[in-house]
Structures are given as C-alpha cells and as structure tokens.
C-alpha cells in the first residue's frame, strides 16, 4: 500500500531522525567540546580535523550524515517548489535534477572524506 511519494516522504522522516543523532554528535564535537570534554583544544585546527578524519567511525558517520542531510534538504526544497504552482511537466524535471545534484554532491563529499581517511595527506 504505497505510492512513490509516500516512500520518498518516509525516507525524509528517517533521514531527519538520522540527522538528529549524527548532527547532534557533530555539534557536541564542534561547539560543545569544551563543555562536555569531547574535544581537546581547537576543533577546527588541521591536526584536530585530521585526527577525526583518520578514525573509521568518524568517516562512516560523516558519510552517513552527508547522505542523510543531502536527501532531507533536497526533498524539503523539492516540496517547497512543488507547492508553488509549477507547470505540469516541470515536476518530473525538478525531481530528476535534484536526484542528479544530490548524487553528485554526495560523491564529491564522500570522496573528500574517504580520500583523507585513506591517504597520508598533511602528515
């Protein structure tokens, strides 16, 4: 008992919950590190960034977060656009465009994460 739209929306919710967890962790590291002792020193220093990037758990987390956030954000933007009375044919075009953009951005961001994880950049 499903339609394409109901499947897309279900994933929107799931992605939202995933982001809540993963982005929450990200916030703890980036902005609440001093409070909760999660990070030593400046979280934005290259050495600190690299330390996390080398960690497999962080790499997986960031890739997941990237995918979930891209899906959630682009589906949300698609929803807003669909509610603005666009012509009939444009709906299909927008969906395809967003899928392409999402995949492209995901590949770019995932490459950035995984390349650093695997390589000896900055060592």
């Amino acid at each position: 008992m499903r339609t394409r739209e109901s499947t897309l929306w279900t994933w929107h919710l799931i992605a939202g919950v995933l982001i809540l967890v993963l982005l929450g962790i990200h916030m703890f590291i980036m902005h609440l590190g001093d409070f909760f002792g999660t990070v030593e020193g400046d979280a934005l220093a290259f050495s600190s960034v690299m330390e996390r990037s080398r960690d497999a758990a962080f790499a997986v987390m960031y890739v997941l977060l990237l995918g979930a956030a891209l899906y959630h954000g682009l589906y949300g933007l698609r929803t807003i656009i669909f509610e603005l009375n666009i012509p009939e044919g444009a709906e299909r075009v927008i969906t395809v465009l967003f899928v392409l953009a999402g995949v492209a951005l995901f590949l770019m961001g995932a490459y950035g994460t995984i390349a650093v994880y695997g390589a000896r950049v900055g060592v």
Binding site: M1, R2, T3, E5, S6, T7, L8, W9, T10, L13, T79, F82, E83, L84, N85, E91
Partner: protein, 286 residues
C-alpha cells in the same frame, strides 16, 4: 459551563447595544471590476449575527450586496467568509462576540470570488470528488443493492465518525497555507474525507484512493500548520485526519499496514418469533 450568547430570562432583547461599522469588500465583474471597500453602519442587538447584519445592509442600505446563505444555523456550510481576519460562518458569528467596533468582511480566500462575498466553491467539490468519497467494495453489487446492513461495532464507527461531520463550507481550505499557494493541493476537506472512507470498515477502497490522496499533491503537502482544525466550525479536526492518514502511509511504505477484513453483511435472523401486534415491515422501495 458555556454561557449562551443570547438574552437571559426577562432581559430586553430589542435594545440596540451599539452601532458597528462593517467594511465589506465589493467586487462585480461588470460594475466593479476593481475591488473597493464599502462601509456600512449597522445597529447591533444582543444576538445579532453577521448574517443578520448583512440582511440589514441589504434591506436598508445597499440592495446590491451579495452573499450566500441558507440554513442560518451552521449546518449547510453556505455562508463562509473572512470575518476580521479569520474564516467563519456568518450565521455562526455573533457580532458582539467579535468585540470590535469595525468589522472587516472579505470573501473566502483561496477561492475565486464570483461577486462581493460569494466564493466559487466548484474547485472544492472537484477535489472532493477526486478522492472518491463513497463506499468502495470488491462486491459493489452489495453496495448498490444491499441485502442487509453491514455489521460495524461502535468502536469501529468512532474511528471515523468525527470526520463525517464535514459540511463542505470551505473554511479549512481558506485557512490552509498550502492551499494558499498550491492550486493542485487537495486540501484538508478532501483529504479528511479520503481518510474517513479509508478507516470505515465497510469500505475497501484504500488502494483506489492512494494515487490521489498520497500523490505529489496529496497528504504529504500538509505540514501540520493546524489552521484548518482551528477554523472548522463543526469540530471535524481535518488536521487530525490527515496526520492519521500519513501514519497509515508510513506504515504502508514499510509494509507494516495490516490489511483489515471489510465488514460483512449482518446475518439475517433465522430464529425468533414476531411479537403479538407488531406489524410487518413496509415493502422495499430500493
């Protein structure tokens, strides 16, 4: 304990409490193609509704003023309009309860205006029809020529009873922010009726409704702004129906929606004796 708005025992009811200024948006495609606001002073008594005030204006001040009304008691859904920034039924709105000396009357937003305060509700009915708001069963022959009643328990009925009270007044559509921009969005009225039939155990039409009700301009373009439930004059709570429908859609997407058996025709009594003096039932007319 709600105090009734009308006069108390022995209270004089004919006294004019105050004069209220009504600012009405006028439009007529032939005589007033550019909308203008007309002001009218109306004497208001205790218990005067906006509908009464409109009658006063038409009878005494401007006979060209147009609006829809019928039952004057909040059951037909004809007199929906935008009163002081909120969609209401004119017959259900006591002027004194608005607690204002100036009352702004506009035609219902999100519908085309035919003339003055008359909205074009044709789109509402089209969207309503598109969700197939009637009992759909595999054996439609039983629905068209019933052999008996469908069995349904009180609990099963209470799952959808609230949503049957819709009077198709369109106030919810005027309140909804998505209807404000999206012309194809089904809107709270029709989505509530889709849900009303989906959970009615006599109906088996969930699959037939899903492409419309759960399509790109269906339930998922609702974002729970809740204005529809606020505006509804009959307590239908359309926002509730839509969220319940989304819950079912979520479960359906994950394959967790249990297919329920449609209610059966209640079995005819095979035993028992007619009591003394009880006459036969009249002949069937259907």
């Amino acid at each position: 304990m709600i105090e009734p708005a009308g006069p108390k025992q022995g209270e004089k009811t004919d006294e004019i409490v105050k004069n209220v200024k009504f600012k009405v948006l006028r439009f007529d495609r032939d005589t007033t193609p550019s909308p203008r606001v007309d002001s009218f002073e109306v004497p208001v008594k205790k218990g005067t509704t906006v509908l009464d005030a409109l009658h006063y204006i038409k009878e005494n001040l401007d006979a060209s003023l147009s609006w829809r009304f019928s039952c004057r008691m909040g059951v037909c859904g004809s007199c929906g309009m935008f009163i002081n920034g909120f969609p209401r039924l004119a017959c259900n709105t006591q002027v004194l309860e608005l607690k204002a000396d100036v009352i702004d009357l506009k035609p219902l937003p999100n519908f085309d205006t035919i003339k003055d305060l008359v909205p074009d509700l044709a789109v509402l009915f089209e969207k309503h029809r598109s969700v197939r708001p009637f009992t759909l069963r595999k054996d439609m022959a039983e629905v068209d020529k019933p052999s008996g009643e469908f069995f349904q328990s009180t609990e099963e009925m209470e799952r959808y009873l609230q949503f049957t009270y819709c009077i198709k007044c369109g106030l919810c559509m005027a309140a909804c922010p998505t209807v404000a921009t999206d012309a194809k969005y089904l809107g709270p009225q029709s989505l509530t009726q889709a849900h009303r039939y989906n959970v009615d155990t006599r109906d088996e039409g969930r699959t037939e409704r899903k492409d419309v009700a759960l399509g790109p301009h269906g339930a998922f373009r609702c974002h729970f702004a809740g204005a529809c439930s606020e505006a509804c004059p009959k307590g239908v709570d359309p926002a509730f129906a839509i969220q319940l429908m989304k819950r079912d859609a979520f479960k359906g997407s994950l394959g967790l929606l249990r297919k329920r058996k449609a209610s059966e025709v209640a079995p005819k009594l095979t035993s028992g004796k007619r009591m003394e003096g009880v006459p036969d039932a009249p002949e069937r007319t259907v």
